[in-house]
Symmetry: C2
Subunit: 212 residues, 2 copies
């Protein structure tokens, strides 16, 4: 069966996967871009242009696309709006060619029509439990894997439901102090996922959890 994977999910040393106060200008609130600096410098992130890093951080960054056939994301990853949609103008943070290139299922209590973008990404807005969304995503992914794309609450829900096979978390040595914590309510997760860690010269620590 296809795997359910989380990739490049960055948290602060004190466990916050995003800061406080998401707005359209600040998708990660007061965390700004600090959780993702390690990735921004990689060759993969820069579209393989010259000068990007090709070390540990790049290897992890690139694994994000390997064999993924669909993504599931929470609505707060898709946009800063809350509650019913005022209109359908918002098309995500990523421009007309988002970096997913697969079907993307957006979990929301306020569905809206599918949104077909360039490059193979189509956003499907569904009001569903984690299990129901995963069933749809698996069907869309075929033999390929499903990525749980975030945000924090979505990843935590899938971890709590024991639906994650591969968890890649990146610990960034900053203390955000406030925001949303990834690890809350997951006591004993090490009984389900075997953890490995490796530090990168950028200063981050990559943690990989693999289903036992």
């Amino acid at each position: 069966m296809s795997k359910v994977r989380v990739h490049n999910f960055a948290i602060s040393l004190d466990g916050f996967g995003t800061g406080e106060g998401q707005t359209q200008d600040e998708p990660f609130g007061h965390a700004d871009h600090r959780l993702h600096q390690w990735m921004i410098g990689t060759r993969t992130f820069r579209g393989n242009e010259e000068g990007g890093g090709t070390g540990v951080d790049d290897a992890f960054t690139a694994a994000y696309w390997n064999g993924i056939g669909a993504e599931i994301m929470g609505r707060n990853k898709f946009g800063p709006q809350r509650g019913p949609w005022a209109d359908h103008e918002w098309r995500g943070w990523w421009g007309e060619n988002p970096p997913f290139h697969t079907p993307v299922f957006v979990l929301t209590h306020h569905p809206r029509p599918d949104l077909e973008m360039e490059g193979g990404t189509t956003f499907h807005f569904i009001d569903a439990t984690p299990e129901e969304a995963l069933e749809k995503a698996r069907a869309a992914a075929g033999d390929l894997d499903v990525r749980i794309g975030g945000g924090v609450d979505t990843v935590r829900q899938y971890l709590a439901a024991d639906l994650i096979d591969h968890l890649h978390v990146v610990v960034v040595p900053i203390l955000l102090g406030r925001g949303e914590r990834l690890w809350d309510g997951l006591e004993g997760l090490e009984d389900r996922l075997a953890f490995e860690s490796v530090t990168a010269p950028s200063g981050v620590t990559h943690i990989v959890g693999t289903r036992r």
Copy 2:
């Protein structure tokens, strides 16, 4: 001036430096010995007996004693009792020859007479602010450094007061889910401490913060 140092301070992946429910049999509550397995296997911890590990974990373990002239600890590190002392029978968790071998200042609202142990350790019980305790410890340490020995709340107080020069934290890949968190209320600590990290084959990640 002498430095103020924290060594071998273990926390879970979700940031807990101790579990819930400290008792005389379980100094770390439901965490049991799981936060310290990495250290128990080292040659240093085993009193240099044959067969102990001599790698990364051992190097960090041994640095605990380098040039330390006094320790400050919270009362909950000294014992499981709370409130006024019923008697003075309790002499710490460590037997008659505790592993400190220096004066140790125990922060408590309930002072009791000094306790002179074997091997150079004397416990002084003082009702003092972190700053006041540090002044006493520095005087006792002479040219040597002062160790902040824990528990969680004591280390966090000294970090909040910006009194720590060297912070060694060990992240153990387990999720305790409950207990006392080390990093709470320390937003922006990276502006005061520069962090380095290294993983050890045991699976833990050593993090060192050095005053900028």
